[in-house]
Structures are given as C-alpha cells and as structure tokens.
Symmetry: C2
Subunit: 458 residues, 2 copies
C-alpha cells in the first residue's frame, strides 16, 4: 500500500509541473482526504492553495481537517470570504472548534464571521468546557429520534438529516431533551418490520458520560464497550453531544504519548517529534534534568559521609554503579507496570495491598536470583578468574546482601509511589524511572554502606 | 456512571442470594455484555453458570466473548453439547478463532465439533495466519455487494445477511472475489434515489491491507483514516476478510503495553498486572536484570582502573552518581521520544540525519544549561555555603565539563540506538532507558576520568 501511495505522489508532482490540472483533479477525487493532506503537506508552500482549490467542496473540507495547523492557517489567510465560508459550512462542529482553538485571534475572527449563527453557538459551547473533558472533544451534531417514531420514519429522518452528522450509525432517543434510549442503524435495518416503534427496539439502559468526564476515561469506556460513539449528557441527563470513535482513538494515542514522555522525565509536548524545534525540546526536557541533577546531590552527600569507609576498602567503590543500576532497573520495572495498569483501568487504588504483596513476592524471587548470580560472579569471575585479591568472601557477602535488599526496596518504592501519586491527584506517570531511580540510588547507597560498616567493621 | 454500575452489582448479588432468578434475568437483559461479564467475574465460581444460563442466547454469546479465559473454560466444561453449540453458533468467526487459540486441546475439540463446517473452515483459515498479522485478527464475515446491484437491492441484501456480520456499516464491492470498491451504509441511506447502481456511488480507490500485514500497522492506518473496518485481501487482491475497529483499538492498546514493558526492561506479558503470578512476573523481569547487572560490571572495571586517581582526589567519587544519573536521564529522554515517534509512524529511518541534528542542538542547549547550573551549585553551595574545601575551581570545572559532554553523548546514543535497532529488525523499544543507561553510565565515567586526569594531572 505504501509503495502505491508513493508512486501516486510522484505522479501528482509530475502533473503539477506539467500544469495538467484537470487530470490532477480526477486523481485527487479518488484519494482519501488524509492522503491528500499528506501530499499537500509535502509541496512547496505556494503550491498548496493551487492544488487545494482543485478539490470539490466536501473533499476540500475533509482534507482541510487532516492538514497541519500551519498549512491550515496559510490556506485561510489566502482564502476569500466566500471560499472560507464554503469550507466552514462543510466542517463538523467538533473540527471547527478544534480549528478555532488553534488559530490566531485574527483568523478566528474571520472563521466565526463566516460560520452560521447555529454553528457559532455550538463552537462557543464546546470551547467553554474545560480542556480534556468529554465536552471539549464532543460534537453537537448527532441523530436524535423520538420514542414514538416508527422504524420507517426513523430511517427517513436519518436520510433527511444525516448528511451533516458525523456518525449516523448510533441514534439517540430523547424525550424533552433527556436521553432515554439508544438505537443503532443496524437495529433499524434488521428490525422485523418497518412499523415497529423505536421505543420497542431501543436499548434503555444507556451508557453515557457527563460533559465534565475525563476524555481518557471516555475513550477507555468506548474501547471497552466497542462503541462507535459515546453520548454526552449534562448534569440533568439532557443530551448535549457525542464523542466519536475516531476522536476517542486520537485521545488514547495522545494520552499514551503524554504518559511515555512523563515516564521518561519530560513535560509532554503537543507537537510531533519532527515538528518540535530544539528550543522547544530543550524547554520540555531541562526542568526535569535540573531537578534530578540537584536531587542526585543527596547520593553525593551519602558517599561523602562514608568517605572514610570507602578509603579503607577502595574495592567497594567499584560496585556502586552496579548496585545503583540494578536498583534503578528493578524499581522502574515495578513502577512502569503499575503506571500502565492504572492508566488502563485494570488496577484501582483499592488494590494497593494486593500490589504490594505481589511485588514483595516477586522482589524476593528477583533478589535471591540476582544475589546468587552476583555472589557467584564475584567469587568465580572477579576473585578466582581475574585474581582481584581485594574481594574477600565478606566483601562479596556485603555486596550480595546490599543487592538483594536494594531490589526488595526498589520494587516496593516502585509500586507504591505511583499509587500514592494517583491518590494525591497527580498523574502516576511522573513517578516512573527517573524519579524512582533517584530515590532508589540514595536508598541503595545507604543500605550498601550500612551493611559494609556493620559486616566489615569499617 | 461507575457508581450506578456498583449499585447494580450489589442488587444482583442480593437477588442471587434471594434466588429471584426472573427478576435477575430482567435486569441482566438491559445490561451491556461487558458489564455482565465483569459482574460474573466477581461471583464465586460455582454461581457463574447459574447466572450465565439466565441470559438469552445472543446476549449469552456476547457476554461469553467478554469473559476472562479461565471463566470461559470453566463454563465450557460445564456446558452440554447443545448449550455449547448455541454459544458457538452465535459467535463471530474472529472471536471463535481467539477462543480456539486460548483453550486447551480437549476443549478445542469440543468447540470445533459443535461448529458448523463453514465456521470450522473459517476458524482454521484464520489460525493459519502468522501471529500479529492482519489475517490472524480479521473476521471472514463481512457484507459483500456486487457492482451492478441497486441501492435498494443492497439494503435488502444487508437486511437479509446482516444479522451474522460483525460490521455492516462498510460494505465491500467484489467482482470475481476481487475487491473493487467500498460503499458505506451512510452512502446507501443518503443516496439520491434507490435505483442507482452501487458502481456509481462506490469508492474505487480502495485502501486495503494484505493478510500478512503487521497488525499494528493496520490499526494505525485505521486510526489515521478513521475506518470502522479495514478490508483484508490476499496477494491477488481477492477479498478474504475485515479487521473491525474494536479489534484495532485492542491491538493499539496491547502494542503500547508491550512497548512500555520493553522500555522498562521486561519481556512483555499477555496477562494483566493483577492476573500475573509473582513467578510469571519474576520470569519476565529477571533476564533483563541479570543482563544489566552483568553489563554494569564494565562501569565497575572503569572505576577500578582509575582507583589511584580517585584515591588522590576522593571528592571526585561523590559526583559519580550525579553524572551517571544525569547522563542516563538525558539519554532515556531522547531514546523514548524516538521510540514513540517510530511506533506512531511519525518518524521513518530515512529521517536519521534530521533526528541526529535536532538532538545535537537540543543536547548543546541542555549541556550548557546543566553545566552552568552544576558549576554554580558546586561553587556557591558546596564550596562557599557548605565549606567543602576539596572543591576547587579546577575540580568544579572537571565535573562541569564531564557533565556537558555526557549529556551530548547520551542524547546521541539515545536517539541513534533505537533507529539502529529498527534498521536491524528489532523492536526499537528494547533500546530504551535501561539499556541506554548502562551504556551511558560507562561512557560518562570514561569521560569524567579522562577530564580528571587531563585537567587535574592525576
């Protein structure tokens, strides 16, 4: 498929060079809007409007939605008022609201001027909801049916009103604006006869979310229930809009990208990797680096505190990185698993006891295995094979014990901290590797030096 | 919503105690299959079949699909052949194939015996495709139309055949089994009149995947194009099945979970966190821990190699954790961003030059900022405020220079390794924090000691 698309792109460039606009138009109308947007995005800027104007109205609007923000702005700047109105009229309300949110003030003014009063109202309504809420990603366009309509009347209603609705496949049954039922186009088409009333075939135990529900939760519910659209109601169960499945998929992807950035110690960015400038990347990365660098001072202070012990047994210094590394890795394994399970909704805060008990048993297994491997390596490789005379059985014992204890502690800290963060209302993802590693580094050093002073009498 | 569901669960438990089975049935039929499955999952094992048998056939099958594997097995063991046949008949082919894949041999035998010869064929066909391919997650049930059918005939066809098809909203137009067009139910319902032929309204530039396409790529294409279903064709463009959007969403979630596990140095597990036993978790975690522990030996060897230098300037030891930590964090920031961008398809291998150049500029910014912060902290806090006499301007200079150089190198290694892994056909996610950290640890120590010996003449 990819190859075919690349061949198509080359053809389009060639035709553009040769100014064969009618042929170009014939090719473009057969393409998917997303692919057209991608093709346009790779042209020189001054050619984009030229190619864009070849598109028929509806396809133009669909392509416009898929384009990058800067290309959208450039196009609008070049549009006449009539051209802008044609695009705006074809947009779904949720896409129009996204556009208004991303454009600079002077462009927004022009867009809103061209929108119908109805659309202007809907856009404003959507923009009023807090960021990341169901209300902010919903569209106010959906197919509403009445309970006493027949199947035939309903299908007629869909045919009459359906053109403007993003998803017609799930219809919502309302009475005095309250959401009382759901019926799918499949149910309508497969109904035993056309005269049955909607109230007889609709599902009445409707699953819905409120406008203020978190968008990630909404998307996860849609995935769990296999919904094409999720109805959004206000606090009085009055239907106000729907979230469509494609927006839910985008939300899931964005939230994952955000979690992953946080887990690696970065402020999440809305830009894609290739679009971010080094300066933006710097701004997203430096705060955490500075914070973690400063907090690493504690580990330095611990080492300074045990300087005399280290001077007496210099061999101990060489195993600091191994201990800290293993501790960090053990801790981040646990924290990352817990963070992911929390964000998938598999794990709830009430499971904390189960989690700790599971991690303790895992940690004991890991600690014993790592300790054994570590002791064997110290004695067999370092002492006997490489002839490192500084490694006595006692020194190996200290390192092994410190290793096992560090693993246990690291796994405990790793599983508990994300749950505490969640309890306190933070995103658990901030409690991933970098943070855990810093804490575990300090703890592992303390344990190491405690064992060393106790066992080796330093 | 969640609260309402919990109240419902309590009600169900109470009714079950009171043996009010008819009331229970009335409640269950209004519930979503996923919620019923969850409710059943929380009952004592011996009560599950009792409640399950209250469900009408179709709802029973839908609920069955949503249940955990062990509960499914337990139910099947208790089913009579007739009961099993009723469930199997209602299953979609892709769900049946999943079931067959997960059940033990004796259960599989019983399932296949109850399946119609047609379904048995389809199941076997799906099972023959390699794991993680489009073929292995597709269903062979879809609505096929002929190009010369009218809209009215098509709708009649959907009504007649639609009950058994998982997704009826996208219909596929075939000629001699070849996929030549796509038409949505929306197009059919909104067609100007009922006598238009499908060939006039169908989309002919069909986007499809082959049976061997990677499931993650398929899911990402569906997300990009907002598809409800993706047609799957064989190497001769003959239609063989469709991947539905709910399966695509599951694929995306599973692939992310897998990536995140790999990124934290674990072998991915198919079990959810709460379902995994400590022994399983141990097996997924220990190989990486041992590997990384052993590779940390190199850092130990580097330290041993510079033991004399460290003995001469003991203060240098205290800053090893800070250097290694900052290097590790810088590197994992870059690697994780690159891994995510690669897996979203935003980044291609051909961008490697751009990526390196972007990371170099970011690294210079980060290096300068961190170096400055580090130098200021050493002089102002450690030397002047805390009166640590061992820190001279030269020592602070060594640490600062090593810090800046480490950041630069860490970011380079961090962005290049995942791309090399991808080029070699590995999952780039294995090149995340733990791996990068281990390499960067060694590099940062080498740099540190080189600067120290050169500048401090040790």
């Amino acid at each position: 498929m990819k190859e075919r698309f690349e061949i198509l792109e080359t053809t389009i460039h060639t035709l553009l060079q040769a100014k064969k606009y009618m042929t170009l138009r014939d090719i473009l109308v057969t393409m998917n809007p997303n692919d057209i947007a991608q093709t346009l995005g790779e042209l020189e800027e001054e050619r984009i409007p030229l190619l864009f104007r070849l598109l028929p109205k509806e396809l133009a609007a669909e392509t416009f939605v898929e384009m990058e923000t800067d290309a959208q702005e450039m196009l609008i700047q070049g549009f006449s008022d009539t051209e802008l109105k044609e695009i705006v009229d074809e947009l779904y309300v949720d896409d129009a609201a996204d556009l208004v949110e991303e454009m600079p003030a002077n462009v927004v003014k022009r867009i809103l001027k061209q929108a119908t009063p109805e659309m202007r109202n809907s856009i404003n309504q959507i923009l009023r909801y807090p960021e990341n809420s169901a209300g902010s990603i919903m569209t106010t366009e959906y197919v509403a049916l009445r309970p006493n309509m027949t199947v035939a009347e309903s299908i007629k209603q869909i045919r009459r009103k359906g053109v403007d609705k993003e998803t017609i496949y799930t219809c919502y049954v309302t009475e005095n604006r309250a959401l009382i039922g759901v019926v799918s186009v499949k149910d309508l088409l497969l109904a035993p006869n056309d005269d049955i009333e909607i109230s007889e075939i609709m599902l009445t135990n409707v699953i819905s979310v409120t406008t203020l529900a978190d968008q990630e939760e909404v998307a996860q519910m849609m995935s769990k229930y296999h919904f094409l659209a999720m109805p959004v109601v206000d606090s009085d169960n009055r239907m106000v809009g729907i979230v469509t499945f494609d927006d839910a998929m985008t939300v899931l992807e964005d939230e994952v990208t955000e979690d992953i950035a946080l887990m690696a110690g970065m402020t999440p960015s809305e830009e894609s990797y290739l679009k971010s400038t080094p300066w933006e990347m710097f701004k997203h990365r430096i705060p955490w680096l500075i914070l973690l660098m400063v907090s690493a001072t504690f580990t330095g202070m611990i080492i300074t505190g045990f300087e005399d012990a280290l001077a007496a047994q210099a061999v101990l210094t060489a195993f600091i990185p191994m201990l800290m590394g293993t501790g960090g890795n053990s801790g981040s394994q646990s924290s990352v698993m817990v963070i992911r399970a929390l964000s998938l909704g598999e794990l709830k805060l009430e499971h904390i006891g189960k989690v700790i008990w599971k991690e303790i048993r895992t940690a004991v297994l890991c600690g014993v295995a790592l300790g054994a491997a570590c002791f064997a390596k110290l004695i067999l490789v370092d002492k006997m094979l490489l002839g490192n005379g500084d490694i006595t059985v006692l020194v190996a014992g200290v390192i092994t014990l410190a290793m096992a204890a560090t693993v246990l502690l690291a796994k405990l800290v790793g599983c508990v901290l994300p749950m505490i963060a969640k309890r306190l209302g933070f995103d658990p993802a901030v409690m991933a590797s970098p943070f855990i590693t810093t804490i575990v580094d300090a703890l592992s050093l303390l344990i190491y030096f405690m064992f060393a002073t106790a066992i080796l009498h330093l």
